[in-house]
Every structure is written in structure tokens, then in C-alpha cells.
Amino acid sequence: MASDLHLLVGGAQGSGLETTMQVLAPAYASLGYGVMANREYFSNIVGRHSYIHMRISSSGEPKALQYPVDFIGAMDAESVFTHYDDIREGGFLLYDMGTARTRLVQIASMEPDLRNRLLENFKKLGIQPPTVESVVSYLEKDVGVNVIGLSFTALFEVLIKKHGLTRAQAQRFRSSILIGAIAGLSGLDREALELGLEKRFGSRPKVLEINKDFVASVADEIEREYGTPLKLAEPKAPYSEYVVASGNDAVAMGKIVGGVRYQAYYPITPASDESVLLEAYEGLKIDGESLGSIAILQTEDEIAAISSVIGAALTGARSSTATSGPGFSLMVEALGWAGKNDVPIVVTYYQRGGPSTGLPTRGSQSDLLFTLFASHGEFPRMILSSGDHLEAFYDAIEAYNLAEKYQMPVIHLLDKFLANMVASMPIPDLEGVRIERGETIFEAPRGPFKRFPRDKPIAPRPVLGSGAITWYTGDEHDEYGHIDEDPVNRNIMYERRWKKMEIADKEIPEEFRAKYYGPEDAKVLLVGWGSVKIPALEAIEVLGEEGVRAAYLHVRMLSPLPKRLISDVLSRFDPENVIAVEANYLGQASKLITMETGFLFKKFVLKWTGRPIYLNELVEGVLDIVKNGRSRVVLSYGK
């Protein structure tokens, strides 16, 4: 029995693909397995190819995704063609026999690039003409894949007859077939399966009922026919409960725990799901009682979003916005105003593939240097970047704390990978969570107030409505917040703002801001940030097994950068063995580290296709550098 199960389920966008993840993730989690699932999709609503890539781990932890997978469930012909080489020898392919005759050239929704590449590949492999049938047979015979052909139509017929559905209604159960097949092949406990279905369809009893019946029947059928070849080892379950959530969800939960009282947003992928979730929580109701209220506003654009967030922050509400690259690009002017006026705001920034509209539904880590220097003029800001779902949750809270303690904008930098990946994480340690509001004051002496005293970089902050009268301006200001162009005052106020950064750099433990993982005597060091953490942590283990003692330095706070800790760690390695691992072209964090420490990176593993960095390719990339002396490996795995 395997310790891990790698699955991929493909189909057309809009055909219910997400359901597989939403059902299977809680189902496996309920048995103590760690789950990680990614969804890849085009910037399209219906029709383009999409897929769920999932790993179920008996370690009990959500673990990195990798290729090839053990099982592919193809909802349509396009999925068979697209993923024919993503499956391991001995793995399983499930497909709809109704698509057997479909020819590759008939797939209108496939991008010409891929179609042409596949035509070439299939030609080389002698699969002529490429049809689902011919590809499947190649997989079966030449690759050793176990192929399971089902007639989806026949299965729908059952639904139509048994439950009195129309054909159109029956079609919506397409994903249930795949769920059933996976449950069958992996011998998934049926109660767990039902729990998964309840999580997904609990609010629609009729659909739930049909699904329970239908999925179980498929599962039983499959199990009867094929046994449970994908049965997993018993999980070593360290947790008694899991939160099964996406990064968007984790951040929204963090914000709620952190006390968000105002959020403004303009819709954008992959950020708006977070705000839409918050909208559903605007009443903060528990057992009919309300803990408070979150004012959530969908604005006319991102400029209005951040501007109104600044306004709300001035009133004392914990305030934030969530956006992605194009939206943030529009926010930079206002960001400067917040920086200039010591306003604690939080911008949750989900990076997607750029530049410009780029790959709007894919991920990247290409906006670090932009966020660090965004807006004209110089002012301090903090940048937090989370490595996984749990970090994302805690950082969402910490972002508010830091913003209020140090009175400056905090950018919480995430990426589409984390945003959309669903993971099982332990229930956060809520006792350990602290709410720190710094010098925020809700009742102040009446009358004009020195909001910006020259001698206090971090000063009492009476909110609007507290009794104090305060002024704010984007111009250089005096102690009261009035316009002041005097050169002496200018120098003082300019330094006063930067002084906050010095204080923060002293106070925030470097151990929080960066963390070294791996053996103390490692020879190779990977340096990364954000969701690189997920594959990197496992990669150093695998590399160890391959005889390469490797470690990973995870940078969680990019500003203020923990440069002493980083320099220390770097100094322990031969520069030839220090590898920047990033989902961008420039090696942005490595550039930042150079800027701050003078350490010049020589080795890079980079990726910018918009697909996540997979464990297998990361390991190979590092080996290519370590063993073959390559200096720059560009990854490109994933459809």
C-alpha cells in the first residue's frame, strides 16, 4: 500500500470539476489523511480545459504536488489528450468510452499550440490518427497504464431512470462518476465519502441523496471490477480535526479572527473569492448572536477600494483590501498616502502571472520588487509572504497587528497557487493568537491633537471620532498634520517615518521573518519564499535521500528583511551551492537579498509558466545544478 496517492481529474471548465475536490478533500481528511489539491483553469467561464491535481498523503500533512500521477480521471476527450503523459506506468486512466472516437483535431477548445505539439508527439509515437481510442490503447500497451473505460451515457441513463432526472440534469453528475471511481479504486471508506458529499451538497438534500446513491454505486462497481489497487496506507494522523480550505479561505478566516471591520474590493481573480466569502460573514453570527459586523464594499475600481480602506482605517476599523496585480497597480498612489500618514492598512495581494493581464488565472511570484518600491517617493511598508495555508491564516492576523503597531501599510503577498489550492490544515492555535493594536486610541482628549510628534515615530493614534481633532495630508506635514514645506521639518518628518522601520527591524524577531529548515551540516541551500516552501520542504528530504544534503531558507518577511539572519545562513554555504528558487524570471527575492547584503546569487531554479513548482521538477532542477554544474534551470512542468 502506497503512502501517497496522486490524482488528476480533468474536464471542461464549468462542468463541475471542482466538486471532485470539494468532496474528496474532506472525505480523506476525515480519515486523517493530509490533502493538497490545486485547480488549473483558463481565463474562461465555460468550455476550456481545467483540471484538479491532488495529493492524498498518509503522513497526515498536506504535501507537495508532483508528477506523474497514479490516477487520471478524464471527463472528456480533451483531458485524455492533454494529460496522456502525466500518468505513471502502472497507473490508472479512467475515461468516457463515449469519447473513444473523438479525434484530437476535433477539439475546438484546445489551444493550437498544444494541439500542434500533441500532433507531433503522437506522430512520433506512431499514434495515428490520434483519437481517444488510439491514445488510450497506446497508454495501455506501451506505457503500462491500466485503462478503465466507462460509458458515461449509460451511467446517466441509470440516473434518468432511477431518479427521474432529465438528460441535462443527469449530465451534471459527471463529476460524481469520477468521485465514485476514485473512491472505489482507493477503497475509500464509504462513511467518509458520504461526509465529503454532505460537506458539498448538504444544503441541497435532493442532490445529496442522489449523489450518495450514485457515487456509491459507481464506487462499488469499480471496486468489484478492479479491486482497490490505489488503497493508501493507514494515515499517521497527528490531528483530530482539520480545516479544509483554500488559501483564499484561510486568509478570510484569519481576517475574521484578526478583527476585520472593513473590507473593500473590486472583483479580480484570484483575489475576490476571499472578499465574497467575507461578504457571507458580514453579520459574524454565532448561534443567532452577532460578534460584530464587517462592512464590505464592492467599489467602482481598485483606487476606490484602497482609498476607502484608508478612510476606514482612520476611523479605527481594522481595514483591508484584497487584490491581484492589475488591481494593485492601480492602488500604488494611495498606498503612498497611507505610508505618508502612518495609516495601518492591509493589502492582501495574490500574485498571478504577469506582466499586464498575463495569465490571469495562473500563479506567479513576480511582484515582490514591485510591491517593495511601489508608489513614488520613499516610505516604509512591510511585506509578509506566507509559505502555506497555515502561515497564510496566521499572517492575515499578524498583518493587522504589524500595521497597527508600526503604523504603516502592510502588504500580505500571496499567490494564486496558495489562493486556489485546497489543503487540510490543523485547527489553528487560537489561544496563541494575539491581537495587538499598538497606540490606537478610541477615546482621546477633545481638541486639536499632535498626531505626528517629532520625537515619537510611533505615536498615539486617536481615531476619527475619538474626541481628538486630527488632520491628515499627502503633503509633507507638521506635527498636527498640516502642510509644511520647511526643510528642517522635512528632514525630521522624513526620518521619523523611516525610524519606524528601524524599530520594527529591531523588534520583530528575525526567527519569525526567516526560517532555516534542514540539517545543520547541509551542503546545498535553497532560498525561497511564499508557496515555494511547500515543494522545497519536501525536496530537501528527497535530495537527502539522493545523497545531497540540502536545506531550505524560507523568507517570510521581505520587508523588513531579516538580513542578519540571512547573511549568517548564507555565509555558512559555498556560494556555488546557494540556489534561489522562485516562481519568477528575475529571481526577485535573490535580487533583494543582494541589494541588502551584497551576496550575489549564482544559481537559480525558476519557473514562470503560471503552474506551480512541482516536487519532481524542483528536485531534478537542483540535481542538475549540483551534479551537472548548471547555473540556471527553468522549470516548465504542468499543462
Binding site: 484608508i310 492576523i397 498640516h482
Partner: protein
Amino acid sequence: MASRGVASYRTEVWSDWCPGCGDFGILAAMQKAFAELNLDPATTVVVSGIGCSSKTPHFLNVNGVHTLHGRGIAFATGIKLANPNLTVVINGGDGDLLGIGVAHFVALGRRNLDVTVIIHNNQVYGLTKGQASPTLRKGEQVKSLPVPNLQDAVNPIALAIASGYTFVARAYSLWVDHLKEILKAAISHKGSAVIDVLQPCITYNDIYTAEFYKDRLYKLEDDPEWDPVVRDPGEEEEKKATALKKAEEWGTRIPVGVFYVNPLKDTYEDRLAKRNPAYSRENPPAFQSIYSEGSSLVGPEEFRKLFDRFIVKVSRR
């Protein structure tokens, strides 16, 4: 609370407008209106954009938020929503509110948030040295333009009505007491109010001067028939149409006064409270407590309840 004198609404900051600038009249009217409404300086917030006009908050002894060019309304929206107990007034130039900021101007109308917008309409970009603003008419060439303006003017009254404002007025900055009265009505009005204030820029606008306005301006209310108030939902379209027609009058006679008032439409705050009863003036988001003894109000138990849908219990089978 004892009523406050006009002087108490003044700061010591020197108003550095050009001597004779119409902005002085607007400032004076605001101080008077605030005094007569006896606004509490601590719960009054004047928000502005960028421009000569947008320096206003520094001269008023109430909270002042001098923001970015065109963004006054957007900042104010967050302030008002997070704490609906605050009285919020927005000052901006015609360039600020109707040019770069017009998206927010339109959006505010759609929300009917309970705030007041004062447009300092001088037909130029004052602080950047007199370029054409969106209210300058086609073919006009004020002092510092090297060539005549080619863009049509936007009509603030028409745009406001089309956007959904529920109190729409025009005033003249040199008629301080008239403006003051309109201001009081606008601030007292529940919903988004806008006042288009004709404001001579003596340095750059040599067309729309005090001289120009002198013989042309007349007050709408001088016509005893004039009734801009919607008293029944059925009247709305009619009153709007009348106001729009009046708004086109710009020649030998130019009307000032209240063009349109609709007190029947619910404010954004009301809509929000209706959808989410936890949102209220009594317990505004800004002042809600979010923690006790350093810990979040959302402790382990609350977390489990709130996020039940995300939580999965592990049971070995």
C-alpha cells in the same frame, strides 16, 4: 452641548489662496453653517482631494483629511461606512471631482451614502496654473491656455442627477449666506448631497469672473412656484426632468439654489443595516471591540462555530 461660535471652527493655519479667491467665501459659509448646525468638531470630518480648493480642511477646526487628487469621495466612503456617526463633508475642485475623480462621483450617486459634496467650480485647474477643467466650455480660452479649449463642458447638475444624488444644488461662493443655507440643508439631508459652487478664480479665470456672474445669477427660490422636493415616489421622474432642464440654463440668466431633493430614497447605511442588522450607528464597525485581554473575540469555540463548514473531524475507521 453649548453652541459653538463661528470662530471656534477656524484654525490658525494661514489660508494661502490668492487674495479675492472665491474659496474664501466657501470657507466662510462652511464655518457659519457648521456653527449654526452646532456640529461637534470631533465627529465632523472634512475630506478633500487636491487643488487650491482641497486645502480647505486645514482651515477648519474639525477633523481634516486632505487626500489625493480626485479621491476625496473614495476616502470619505470608507470613513462614513466604518463609522456612520460621523458627519462627512467633501470639498474638491471641478477638476478633482468631475475630471480625474468622476468615477467616484458617479459611484457615490449610486449609493446615496449620507455625505455632502462641495464642488469648487472655477472652470480651471487652479493649483496647476490654470488649465481647462471639465466645466470650461468648448472654444473658451481662459488666461493661461495657449490655445482654446476643445472639450465640451460637463454639467455638474445633470451629471449628479443622472448619477442618483438625492440633493442637488448650485450656489455662488460670493453669496456666502445663501451658500450657507444650502450647506445646512445639504448636511441635514439624509443621503448624498452635492452643491455645485460657482467660484471665481481671480488669477486664472478671466471669463467667469465676479463681474460675469453679477448680473446673471438669480435664485430659484425667488420663483414661488419652484419646488424641487420629491414628496411622492411618483414625482421623481418629473422633478428630475424639471431640474435637468433648469440645469441647461447658462446664458444671460444663471440659476442658483436647490435643483432637486429626494428625501424618500434610503441611504446606503440604511440599506446595509437592513441587509445586515449587526451593522448600526449604535455599534459602528470602527468602534466595535475585537478582542479581550489580547485575544481575539473569535476564540477556539467561536472559530469552530463560525467556520463549521470548513472543519472536518478525523475519525479512524
